[in-house]
């Protein structure tokens, strides 16, 4: 930790991990209700559990982004954060808002636009917190060294905050409601969040591999260019069947096909940098998460996204378990794993220790990644059968669901593995053991040198 104010990130990471725990437990509960539908049905209906599952995810990912920004901006700008007090105030507002939202959901107070169910005062709280953050971090960046990493990171964070305005715009016309809703949902995860992801990934690879900054930053601009060139018009793949003009079927199909490119580039970028860098960084777990994130993002967001993005396919697969499969792997690879990479990299420094618990941490990577992959596969099979029975043959929804129960049982097992992995990750971050579970070998020079 080179700058004292980076310590702010520590508290953001703790808050994020607490919500991460809530998120996966909520997911497990929802997965169990698929297996045993009467469970808790009087006490805590499925829709409330799902709201907690998705909202907790979004908030903890944002907390992780804020943590990453507060951690990396001082190092990049070579300045202390402009005001740590504001940073803590921002965190308090976000936590009060989050607890307020969860509390209101549990007593049945919520909106009805998916993922934007927060009561109005919470939405304003998020807006205020975002403005405090942007002011604080912009002041830091403007007064210090400017780099491509902070440029892109800041641009991503400014744009995503700006798009939050659409969370307040809810037209009475359902089709317009849906169109503007996607301005938050799609233009977050398939455009502006990708800028944040690419910037954070570039920072991690710069530190972990020791590759020249010029090379890293050139890659970064190329990646984010492909992300926005494809992602902005790629919004069209959500506009096929909600009452919008037919031309979106072609615009959406073509541009969202190109959305695979930034994810392919990020994966290539990560592996090429590691190959070129040859730095023997001691934090192997952070490297594993960085490579893993870009790889799983390529499959989850890129490949599984392409799987059902062409309008001829989407006509049949839209809103089936195929979508659920893609959503889970894409979020896990692109944003969950990337945040966990940051936590893994930053936590030892924030606690002023050597990297610790790396074996447990890496075990948690494989448990979570294996679990998510298995979940994605079984949901893809379920979705394929559902698409055929319901959309091609025309069987009724509930009859089709009854024939998918074996897949939901397997999904629950996969979810349990993810939860165990998540808890193991949190343990490996928080509880310092005296030595690794498996002792590392001696550092060898590269053969042939």
């Amino acid at each position: 930790m080179k700058y004292q104010s980076q310590k702010v990130a520590y508290w953001y990471i703790l808050a994020a991990m607490a919500l991460f725990g809530i998120q996966v437990l909520g997911g497990l509960l929802a997965g169990w209700i698929y297996v045993s539908p009467n469970f808790l049905s009087d006490l805590l209906p499925f829709n409330v559990i799902r709201m907690i599952h998705t909202n907790a995810l979004i908030v903890w990912l944002l907390l992780g982004f804020f943590a990453a920004a507060y951690f990396l901006v001082p190092e990049e700008s070579e300045r202390e954060i402009w005001s740590t007090k504001l940073a803590y105030l921002q965190l308090i507002i976000l936590l009060v808002g989050t607890l307020g939202a969860v509390g209101s959901y549990l007593v049945g107070i919520h909106g009805g636009r998916e993922f934007l169910e927060q009561p109005l005062w919470v939405k304003f709280g998020i807006l205020v917190a975002a403005l405090i953050f942007l002011f604080n971090i912009s002041m830091t960046v403007l007064s210090g060294r400017r780099t491509a990493i902070t440029n892109v990171l800041l641009l991503g964070l400014w744009l995503l905050s700006l798009l939050w305005v659409f969370a307040f715009i809810n037209p009475d016309n359902l089709s317009l409601d849906k169109m503007y809703w996607w301005f938050v949902v799609h233009l977050w995860v398939e455009a502006t969040w990708e800028l944040v992801m690419a910037a954070i990934l570039a920072f991690l690879l710069l530190k972990l591999t020791g590759v020249d900054r010029e090379v890293v930053e050139k890659w970064l601009y190329v990646i984010v260019a492909t992300a926005l060139f494809s992602g902005i018009l790629g919004t069209g793949h959500h506009f096929y069947w909600i009452g919008l003009p037919g031309y979106w079927q072609w615009v959406g199909s073509i541009f969202s096909t190109f959305e695979v490119i930034p994810f392919f580039l990020m994966m290539s970028f990560a592996f090429v940098m590691v190959w070129k860098g040859r730095k023997n960084h001691p934090n192997k777990a952070a490297l594993l998460w960085s490579l893993g994130s870009s790889t799983v993002a390529f499959f989850g967001a890129g490949v599984w996204g392409f799987l059902h993005t062409l309008h001829g396919v989407n006509f049949y697969s839209h809103g089936t378990q195929i979508t659920a499969a893609h959503g889970h792997l894409a979020f896990y690879g692109a944003y969950v794993a990337l945040n966990l990479a940051v936590f893994t990299y930053a936590m030892p420094m924030l606690r002023q220790r050597e990297p610790y618990n790396q074996v447990l941490n890496m075990a948690s990577f494989w448990l979570m990644t294996g679990g998510m992959a298995f979940m994605t596969f079984v949901l893809t099979f379920a979705g394929t059968i559902q698409t055929h029975m319901q959309r091609v043959v025309g069987d009724y929804y509930m009859d089709v669901q009854d024939s998918l129960s074996i897949f939901y049982l397997m999904r629950f097992g996969a979810g349990a593995a993810v939860v165990i992995g998540a808890l193991l990750f949190i343990y490996s971050m928080l509880v310092v053991r005296r030595r690794e579970v498996i002792a590392p070998g001696p550092a060898n020079p590269v053969p042939g040198e």
């Binding site: 998916e114 359902l174 260019a225």
Partner: protein, 150 residues
């Protein structure tokens, strides 16, 4: 990457290209907005009942179990075409009575079957919701869903 692509060129392409695509996207959005209002949803007036129904739909977060035009939670049936499936698309009264009967018979309590909670709705709420679902159903969704099963 070739030397011809320097960092500053890559940056300029990124900024210039992004602005271009934002402008195109905004223009298409404006056109789409007009198309929705004038064409695709113009088959039925967006009256007070429909708007009230939309608020009932939102207040009870139906979207976190059901899907509407394919968007939502896939835990319960698609409702964008439910009035067609029930054969009540052309009759406000039939839609109201059908929906009232359905909502007031929940939860079914059947073991091993997904449970819809009991929502205490007034007749005004149910009528609004029925009109909202009829309104959604008349939207021109480019032929989606492929069949009445939703």
């Amino acid at each position: 990457m070739a030397e011809i692509l320097t960092k500053s060129r890559a940056r300029n392409i990124f900024y210039g290209g992004s602005i271009f695509f934002v402008v195109v996207f905004v223009m298409m959005t404006v056109h789409s907005h007009r198309y929705v209002v004038r064409t695709s949803t113009a088959g039925m007036p967006l009256n007070e009942e429909v708007v009230h129904g939309k608020h009932v739909w939102e207040k009870n977060s139906c979207i976190n179990c059901h899907s509407l035009h394919g968007e939502g939670a896939y835990f319960a049936p698609e409702l964008g075409n439910v009035t067609t499936r029930w054969g009540v698309q052309d009759s406000p009264d039939d839609a109201f009575w059908m929906l009232k009967g359905w909502i007031e018979s929940q939860p079914s309590g059947i073991e091993g079957r997904r449970q819809m909670p009991r929502y205490e709705l007034t007749d005004e709420d149910i009528r609004g919701l029925a009109e909202f679902l009829r309104w959604a159903d008349q939207t021109d969704t480019q032929g989606w869903p492929p069949n009445d099963a939703g």
